[in-house]
Symmetry: C2
Subunit: 365 residues, 2 copies
C-alpha cells in the first residue's frame, strides 16, 4: 500500500518518553505487518517555544497539513507557566485544531476489566463502562470573538468571551456522534444548558433536527450539563455517546476519563471534515493525560494511552481495524498478565516503568 504519512509531535514533559514506546510498536508493525509509514517529526508546545519562539510554528502547521495523520504527545510545564496568554504551550494544540479544522474530539472512557479496581468508584458502578464523549473543538467560548480583558471608563477591568455556534458547526459534530452511536449502542446524550443559554437552545434544536432528518433510528436524549456531571458520577453505565460543545465537552470528557481511574490508559482522536474530492480527513491523536512535568524524564510514565492513541490512528485514519485491534488486545493482555505502571498500580501486581511496559506490549504482539 502507498506510504502513510505520519507526523509525530512529542511535545513536552512525558510526551517524548511515551512516544518512544510507540516508535517500537511502529517498528514492529513495519516489520511484521508490512505497514510502511513515512514518519516526520515536529516541534510543538514548550519545546517549540524554546527552539523557535512559538508554541505552534508555521512549519509544524504545514507539516501537519500535509500529513495523513498527526500523533501528538502532550504540551506544557512550569517552565512556560508565566508566559503571557498568547504565547502559552497550550496554544500549540488549539492552533492545530483550528488550522486543520479538527472539529470533533472523540474521547473514549472505557473501564477495562483488569482495571476495574483502579477506579475511585465502586466496582459494580463502573464495571463495563464504555462511553464515547464527542466534543466540539473549534467553536464555542474557547474561540468566539469578541474576547479580551479591557478597562472600563471607570478603570475597572472587564474580562469577556463569546460563546457562539452557527447551526452547521453543531450539525456536523452531531453527525459524528450519531454515526458513532450506530456502531455502538445506538444512543446519543446531547448536553447543554438550553435552560439558561441561547447557544444551548440552538444546540438542542439543531441536534434534534439532525436526528429527526438523518438518524431517526438513533435514540437521542437531551440532558443539562450539570445533570450530566451528576449522572456520570452516580450511574455512568447509562451512557453510550455523549455529545457536548467545546466547554461542556471539555469538562465532561475529563470527568468521564477520571471515573475510569486510569487516565494513563486513555487515548483520543480529533477529526476534521472529510474532503469530498480525496475522501481524506485531517486527524490528530493524543493521550488524554497531560505532560505530567512532575514525573517527566523518570521513566515511570504509562505509555499505554499514547500507544492506544496510535491504535485509534490506525483505525480512523488508515482503516486498519485489524492492526488496531491487535495492538489494543496486546495491551489488555499485558495488563491481565499483571504488569502495572505506577499510576495504575494495585496490590499483587508487578510495578514496571515506561520501557518495560512498552517492551511487554511489543513482545505480546
Amino acid at each position: 500500500p502507498a506510504n502513510k504519512k505520519l507526523l509525530v509531535l512529542p511535545g513536552d514533559g512525558i510526551g517524548p518518553e511515551v512516544m518512544g514506546e510507540v516508535r517500537r510498536v511502529i517498528d514492529w508493525m513495519a516489520h511484521r505487518r508490512s505497514l510502511s509509514f513515512e514518519i516526520d517529526e515536529g516541534l510543538v508546545g514548550g519545546a517549540a517555544i524554546d527552539a523557535l519562539g512559538s508554541p505552534c510554528p508555521d512549519e509544524t502547521v504545514a507539516k501537519a497539513k500535509s500529513a495523513d495523520a498527526v500523533l501528538f504527545g502532550s504540551v506544557g510545564g512550569p517552565k512556560w507557566d508565566s508566559l503571557p496568554f498568547e504565547q502559552r504551550p497550550e496554544l500549540g494544540i488549539l492552533r492545530l485544531r483550528k488550522d486543520l479544522g479538527l472539529f470533533a474530539n472523540l474521547r473514549p472512557a472505557v473501564v477495562l476489566d483488569p482495571l476495574v479496581e483502579a477506579s475511585s468508584l465502586k466496582a459494580d458502578v463502573v464495571r463495563g463502562v464504555d462511553i464515547m464523549v464527542v466534543r466540539e473543538t473549534v467553536g464555542g467560548v474557547y474561540f468566539g470573538e469578541p474576547r479580551g480583558v479591557e478597562k472600563l471608563p471607570d478603570g475597572r477591568r472587564r474580562g469577556f468571551d463569546t460563546q457562539v455556534y452557527v447551526e452547521d458547526e453543531i450539525a456536523r459534530v452531531a453527525r459524528v456522534a450519531f454515526d458513532l452511536a450506530r456502531k455502538r449502542r445506538n444512543k446519543v446524550t446531547s448536553v447543554e444548558k438550553a435552560n439558561v443559554m441561547q447557544s444551548g437552545r440552538l444546540w438542542r434544536a439543531v441536534v434534534g433536527e439532525v436526528q429527526k432528518a438523518e438518524y431517526p433510528d438513533v435514540q437521542l436524549e437531551n440532558m443539562y450539563a450539570d445533570n450530566c456531571a451528576m449522572q456520570l458520577c452516580s450511574r455512568p453505565k447509562q451512557f453510550d455517546v455523549i455529545l457536548g460543545d467545546n466547554l461542556f465537552g471539555d469538562v465532561l470528557s475529563d470527568l468521564a476519563a477520571a471515573l475510569t481511574g486510569s487516565l494513563g490508559m486513555l487515548p483520543s482522536a480529533t477529526l476534521g471534515a472529510v474532503d469530498p474530492t480525496t475522501g481524506k480527513r485531517h486527524a490528530l491523536y493524543e493521550p488524554i493525560h497531560g505532560s505530567a512535568p512532575d514525573i517527566a524524564g523518570k521513566g515511570v510514565a504509562n505509555p499505554c494511552a499514547q500507544m492506544l492513541s496510535f491504535a485509534m490512528l490506525l483505525r480512523w485514519s488508515f482503516g486498519l481495524e485489524e492492526d488496531a485491534r491487535l495492538l489494543e488486545t496486546a495491551i489488555e493482555k499485558v495488563l491481565a498478565g499483571g504488569l502495572r505502571t505506577a499510576d495504575i498500580m494495585q496490590a499483587g501486581m508487578a510495578r514496571v516503568g515506561t520501557s518495560v511496559m512498552g517492551e511487554a506490549v511489543v513482545r505480546e504482539l
Copy 2:
C-alpha cells in the same frame, strides 16, 4: 427578639411536600425555642405560571425583597417544558437571584457517616468529604449581554451568549469563599479555564489579588475546571472550599453533590451583599435537588435537604447557630437510627416516606 420575616416559596413538584415537613420544624421551634417567625407564602415557577402567568411575578419579588430570608422549594416539570425560553419555570429562581442581588451560592457537599455507603464512590474515597462550593450566581454566561439566536444574512441560525465578569463581581464572591475558608480548613481552590478564556484570565488575576491583599493567611490554589472535575471524582478529600463562576460553579457543585450519593440530603444558600446601613443581606435557601416530578405527590420524597436548607437559614440569616446545629443533629440521629427515604435506602434500614421522616426529626428534636 423581633419577628423574623420569612418568605416561603414551595414551587413545583415535590417542593410543597418537603416544605410541609419544614413547617413542622418551624412550629416546633416556635413552641420550644421561642423563635417567632412571621411567615408569608408566595408563588414561583410553574405554580406561578399557572396562577399568574409568570414564573416570577412582581408580587413574589416584592415579598422576597421585604423578607429577611426566603425559603425556596424547587421549580419545573414536564407540564411547562414546552414553554418558550422566556417563560420557563427556571426563570423564577434566576430572576430572584438577579433582582435580590444574590451573587454567592453556597453549596455544601458533605458525606455524613451513616450515608457513606450511599455514594457511588468507594467508602475510603468519600468518608469524611466536606466540601463547600461557592458559585457566583448573577454574572457570567447565564446573564451576559448580548445573547440571542439570530439569522445570518445567508439564513443560517447563530446562537450566542456572552461570558463576562467585571473585577468587583469576582472580588466580592471571592471574599465570601475566603471568609468561609477561614472558618473551615483554610483553603480555597479557585476554578476557571484561564488557559483558554479571557474572563478566566481575569478571574484568576482578581482572586489572586484579593487573597494577597486581604487573606494572606488563606491558602489559594488555582485549578482548571476540567482538572477540577477529574479531581473531584478521584480525590475529593483534597478540597475545602471550591470557588467558581456561574457556569463552572453550576457543573462542579452538582458533581460535588453527586459524589456524596445523597442529593436528597443537600441544602444550599444564596447570599446577597451586606447592606452597610442595616447590616442585613438578602438570602435564599433551597435544596439542591430539583422538583422531581416523577415522584411528586407520592409522599416518598426526602424532606431532609429542605429541612437542612432551613438550618442554613437559621445560621446565616438569623445567626441562630445553636438552633441550626440542633436541627442538623436531629437529622443525623434519625439517619443513624436507621430511617431512610427511598433515595438513600440501604439494606437493613427502614424505608419511610416524607412525613414519617419529618415526624421522626421533630420527635428527635
